[in-house]
């Protein structure tokens, strides 16, 4: 396992206390994580009320599942991010099902494509501020080839499968897999430095 940062150690200790029913630790963990998790949910769902409901579910999951957290698998931040993404995807799927029933799948796919394109443009337009953790990650992403970043962005925020990404971009499946792999490898290397 890679060496943990001070923040990762602090998060892990907070979560350990949450697992023992410590509400003060939970409150502190909420303060630390709610901003980035809410931003993620809002970007994926595009609706503040939906994002807040998803975030509430995530924090209730964190409270009830703190003891099942495995530090060997991920940092607390990554664990919480992936829980949030998973809740957001569940909600998007439920929304998709409702839309399909109401209007057929065509309109829904258009909406999804627009939402994904919009989020890609938004991220690309962000400016770099080296004092900001988020801006630092954005700057690292700027070092990826645009096609690698696009593939990861569509997979992470757009909840498209690799098959769907290949179809969307008109590229062979193997190419998309390689772009995602190379992009994550490069991002991993940069996050280490």
């Amino acid at each position: 396992m890679a060496e943990e940062t001070a923040q990762q150690v602090a998060d892990r200790e907070m979560l350990l206390r949450v697992g023992h029913g410590d509400q003060a630790a939970f409150s502190a963990l909420y303060d630390r994580l709610s901003g980035p998790l809410y931003s993620l949910a809002l970007k994926m769902l595009g609706d503040a009320s939906d994002a807040q409901d998803a975030l509430q579910e995530v924090f209730l999951q964190i409270w009830s599942r703190a003891k099942t957290y495995d530090p060997e698998k991920s940092s607390v931040f990554s664990w919480a991010v992936l829980l949030t993404r998973s809740r957001a995807i569940d909600r998007l799927r439920a929304r998709d099902r409702r839309l399909r029933v109401m209007a057929g799948s065509t309109a829904d796919e258009t909406r999804l494509a627009e939402a994904t394109n919009a989020s890609t443009v938004e991220s690309a337009a962000d400016t770099v501020d080296k004092n900001d953790e988020a801006a630092h990650v954005r700057s690292l992403l700027n070092n990826l080839l645009s096609e690698q970043r696009q593939a990861i962005d569509l997979a992470f925020f757009g909840h498209l499968t690799h098959h769907e990404i290949a179809a969307r971009l008109g590229q062979p499946l193997g190419t998309i897999k390689a772009r995602i792999r190379r992009g994550l490898l490069k991002l991993r290397e940069q996050l280490r430095t």
Binding site: Q23, P36, S39, E72, L82, R85, D132, V137, I152
Partner: protein, 239 residues
């Protein structure tokens, strides 16, 4: 040595893109291969960092109250449930009196325990001693500007989160005020500076004791702040 194909699978796995049967097969491989587990963990960290590229937003303060209430209820349920499952002794007439006595004793014990837990929670959980204020914009602030204040009267300190409030023009600063029922003028709680996204999260302490705060407000003042409010109010709100 991890092959490119395994790396592909690991990348797709952490992004949740594998079919259920593929994911199950990959997990089985993960259990046997420490090197593969390491790369999956690192891919997971890299993928999760993507979340930080979303435009930064803060959830409303009321959401935290909702969440904290929910977990308090869950905690209470966990401690009270065993009481509901205690066997009734009413079907055995000759032990009714003894059973009731035991039951009353347990209730008394539970009450003492719950009171102790409540006292512990009050001591440990600062949220229970916190009052939240939502600040809404008034002209000339942008219509989507927002702020929330979490105020702890006992500690005479608080935290303010501001969003969508553009940085003031050079030579000007935003200043936070506590409007207290026992003070004629608003009490300064210091200058607040927003970042380039119009966001701020700042811990503050009013310059005078404020025990009956009715509202918080943000005004536009001269750079560095003023002892007594002079400029226009941009955001104001009560609890």
């Amino acid at each position: 040595m991890i092959s490119e194909e395994q790396q592909d699978q690991a990348a797709l796995y952490v992004l949740g893109l594998l079919e259920p049967h593929e994911a199950a097969a990959f997990e089985s491989e993960l259990n046997k291969n420490a090197e593969l587990r390491d790369i999956a963990r690192e891919f997971r960290e890299a993928a999760a960092a993507m979340a930080l590229t979303a435009p930064p937003r803060m959830p409303p303060a009321s959401l935290k109250q909702r969440v904290m209430r929910e977990i308090a209820i869950k905690t209470e349920d966990r401690t009270v449930v065993p009481l509901q499952h205690r066997p009734s002794l009413g079907w055995v007439p000759w032990v009714i009196a003894a059973g009731l006595a035991v039951f009353c004793g347990l209730l008394a014990l539970d009450r003492v325990r719950l009171e102790r837990q409540l006292a512990d929670m009050r001591a440990a959980d600062s949220l229970m001693q916190t009052t939240f204020y939502s600040l809404a914009p008034s002209a000339p602030a942008p219509a989507d500007a927002r702020a929330t204040v979490a105020w702890q009267p006992g500690r005479q300190s608080g935290v303010i989160r501001i969003s969508n409030l553009p940085a003031p023009e050079p030579g000007r600063d935003y200043q936070l005020w506590a409007v207290d029922a026992e003070h004629k003028d608003p009490i300064s709680a210091g200058v607040v500076r927003v970042d380039k996204n119009g966001v701020a999260q700042i811990r503050f302490k009013p310059v005078e004791k404020a025990e009956h705060v009715k509202a918080f407000a943000i005004s536009l003042e001269r750079e560095g702040g003023v002892p007594k409010k002079e400029g226009p109010i941009l955001l104001v709100g009560s609890s």
